[in-house]
Amino acid sequence: MNFLNILNEIEKVDGEIYERISPRRAAMKDFFSFGKKVAAASVPLAVGTMFKKAYGQTASPAIINALNIGLAIEHFSAAFYTRGFSEAAFGSGSTAAADKAAIGIIRDHELGHVKFLQDTIKAAGGTPVGVGSYDYTGNKEFSEPFKNFRSFLQIAQGLEDTGLRATKGVAGDLLGSPYLSAALGMHAVEARHSTKIRLMRISRGQSGTLQPWISLNDETDGRLGQGAYAGEENVQQAGNTITGINGNSAVDSARASEAFDEPITVAALRTVLGQFKVNI
């Protein structure tokens, strides 16, 4: 067992291996000098423990929390689409069949997110949150979403948009961690889902004003209960007013708001999803 070679190989793909194992390189030297004294048989155990510490247990409570917020939303999404796929009032004909297929695609992604986040949280030394007992009417905001397809799609749209806003809200906590890339990979998929759901709603004539993107605060009955889109009307980005930016007068406030999806705070998330009894 060539331990130094293992570290060298890891360093090729993870330049921070030494930092992960110990905040100080000096500590590694201590480890090696210590290693000379221990029996060869015990080295694998010592190495295993060290790597577990490096990759398995270094996630901070803030990171575990951020991942669990994502998991709580994904649990709800997966349950909602799983039930919707078999029960929702898709209607009949080719549109119904295509819509059902789309919900099946989305459900599979949400199930993939649940599994990924559960595995990741466990590997990071945290405890994944479990499935809740949900109120799919959003505290009576929506009537019978599995019998009324309009309600079903309204919730779906709000859920996708809220989920990706939540990811933006916690992305800063993940900066510099190996979890950011995965979170962004899921985040982009939620955005594609949102646009698909919006297009389904537009083609079914559910809204005359709905766009494939979030325009202003989007209170065009696609809301996920109250407050899901609060803040989306923002046109200030990094100290710049986007409306009419640099003389581009065609960039009106609607387009300026559409061009950037906004984060949502955890407090707002709790209120919005709390209506469905999702515990954040």
């Binding site: 990924f116 950011l180 985040h187 993107w213 100290g239």
Partner: protein, 243 residues
């Protein structure tokens, strides 16, 4: 945020002299060795965000080349280059729409054009003096009179755009820049889904999502090699951070 970029410029100006193309590599190495003390002092005076080593004026006069620079500046310049491409493409689409384009398609394509212009202009302002110049484009491979040709090109650009932002966002040091990138990337994903659905129903995620439900990021070099056919300006991305 702007201050960080401006402060980069002092470093950039010093580096510009060092990396001048008139200095052969061997001389550069000797020079670098001889001035190691100076470099060390320069480095010591820089926080990790002040490591911009791109040219001060990233468009080389007389040569159609840009250097994106390094650090967060380089990553933002990379995004700025892509937004320039997308904005230029949709501007052409909107100016010369295919015959028979319907009102909804036209409205949404104008929306997308204006979103891309908003992205481009924001990045331009955030980069300030650290920004690359205006790139030159060649869209001769796209038949703007043909709906399918335009939409396929749009689909490719949007999918690449999403993967590009997802590839560079984790390399950023600044939380503020990460926020900006995250705010933009989901809008690019919306564009991608709309364009894909316009081409073929239920194609909104086909081929871009793995079994874990995630889109795969692309490295800047891979992104640039895929969009090279549209960009005539030579882009040097060699100073971008890779981890």
């Amino acid at each position: 945020m702007k201050n960080i970029i401006q402060e980069d410029q002092d470093t950039a100006q010093q580096t510009e002299r060092i990396s001048s193309s008139t200095l052969p590599r061997r001389s550069f190495l000797q020079f670098a060795g001889a001035s190691a003390v100076g470099v060390a002092l320069m480095a010591a005076g820089c926080s990790k965000d002040k490591d911009y080593v791109g040219p001060t004026d990233p468009i080389v006069p007389g040569e159609d080349k840009v250097n994106l620079g390094s650090g967060d500046t380089g990553l933002l310049n990379f995004a700025y280059a892509l937004e320039q491409l997308e904005a230029a493409f949709y501007t052409k689409v909107v100016e010369s729409p295919w015959s028979g384009i319907n009102a909804t398609e036209k409205e949404y394509l104008i929306d997308i054009q204006l979103h891309e212009i908003a992205h481009r202009e924001l990045l331009r302002n955030v980069l300030g003096d650290g920004k690359i110049g205006n790139l030159a484009f060649d869209f001769s491979k796209v038949n703007f009179a043909d709906r399918s040709s335009v939409l396929e090109a749009a689909k490719e650009m949007e999918d690449i755009g999403v993967a590009a932002y997802n590839g560079v966002a984790p390399l950023l040091k600044s939380k503020d820049f990460l926020t900006v990138a995250a705010k933009i990337v989901s809008v690019e994903a919306r564009h991608a889904a709309y364009i894909r659905e316009t081409i073929k129903p239920n194609d909104f995620t086909a081929g871009v999502v793995g079994s874990n439900g995630q889109e795969q990021p692309l490295k800047p070099a891979d992104v640039l090699s895929r969009v090279k056919k549209y960009i005539t300006t030579e882009i040097n991305a060699s100073n971008l951070p890779t981890a």
